[in-house]
Amino acid sequence: MTIDPVNLAAILAMGALTYLTRILGFLIADRLPRSGPVRIGLDALPPAVLVSVIAPAVLSGPIEAAAALVTLLLALRLPLVVVVFAGVALVAALRATFG
């Protein structure tokens, strides 16, 4: 039960920058552009990050790609927790069958 110094450095750096993003909104509320290219870029940030993260994993093999497609369709209708359980169960079943 220890803390590695490099891991702690990473955690502190992540924490400091995360706090910065949180306090910044309160402090610059009156100066943030409500429109224009900066605003469009900021609005696009969350989906851009999410897709960048999962794209290599999703396209790593046919089982993962098929499961991702099914997950996407399920997510249109079902709550998050159910979707995650279904996606995980499907990958496990496909790997057990074809893997």
């Binding site: 803390i3 992540m14 009156d30 990050v49 927790v81 995980v88």
Partner: protein, 237 residues
């Protein structure tokens, strides 16, 4: 505690309950994956209490190697959490009366506490009691569940057999849908991000593919934005 504060606490607990329930499986998976990457329960607790940002932590653990890629992890946390700046900006008018407590409020600001507070503010003034009851409920639940996940995770030696490595992609696919604003606006962002991320992932080691993909998506959004909208709104601001 006054009667008014008690009723604010009650309203906040009722509002936050479904979100607390939903974050437990998230945090358990986070802890399990952290163990798989070699992080100790104490390191998990440090990360959950110091960073306290669900998607950034899930991502960080996915990208974690030994030794930790500190600059890439920090930059990733910054990029992922920049959305908090927008949330804070929209919440500022409702929390201005918190005074110095805003600096504490910012520490526990999450997507969920932001959304619940904005919804509360539609019908009633947002009190400090309501805000902190919601935010601290999530905070405490997140600590307990993520550390519990690391303890359970030690028993799961081959998570890929159970498909558990697919939990992250599944969570993020479902979350990404929430940002869908039509093929015209969101399509180019997703295509540019996915293509760039896959290319950089095969070319470079580490977490840079996330940053490259995110920047490509932003560029695509700005370049494909309807010119008239940009111009007219830009002129109005």
């Amino acid at each position: 505690m006054t009667e008014q504060q008690r009723s604010e606490v009650r309203a906040a607990l009722v509002a936050v309950f479904p979100t607390v329930a939903a974050c437990i499986p998230f945090a358990l998976i986070l802890g399990q994956q952290a163990t798989a990457k070699g992080l100790s329960p104490l390191e998990m607790l440090a990360m959950s209490s110091i960073v306290f940002a669900g998607s950034a932590q899930l991502l960080a653990v996915g990208l974690w190697t030994m030794p930790a890629p500190v600059p890439a992890l920090a930059l990733m946390a910054l990029l992922i959490n920049l959305r908090h700046t927008l949330m804070g900006a929209s919440l500022q008018a409702k929390v201005a009366h918190f005074g110095r407590w805003r600096f504490v409020a910012a520490y526990v600001l999450t997507d969920e506490s932001w959304a619940l507070s904005e919804r509360r503010a539609l019908g009633a003034p947002l009190t400090r009691t309501f805000y902190f009851t919601v935010a601290l409920s999530l905070f405490v639940c997140w600590q307990i569940a993520s550390v519990t996940g690391t303890l359970i995770g030690a028993w799961l030696t081959h998570p890929e057999t159970w498909g558990l490595d697919f939990a992250f992609p599944a969570i993020f696919i479902a979350l990404a849908l929430g940002f869908w604003k039509g093929a015209r606006r969101t399509g180019p962002v997703l295509a540019a991000s996915a293509l760039t991320a896959v290319m950089v992932h095969t070319a470079l080691p580490g977490a840079w593919y996330v940053i490259a993909g995110a920047l490509a998506g932003i560029a695509a959004a700005v370049l494909t934005a309807p010119r008239s909208t940009t111009a007219s709104l830009g002129a109005a601001s």
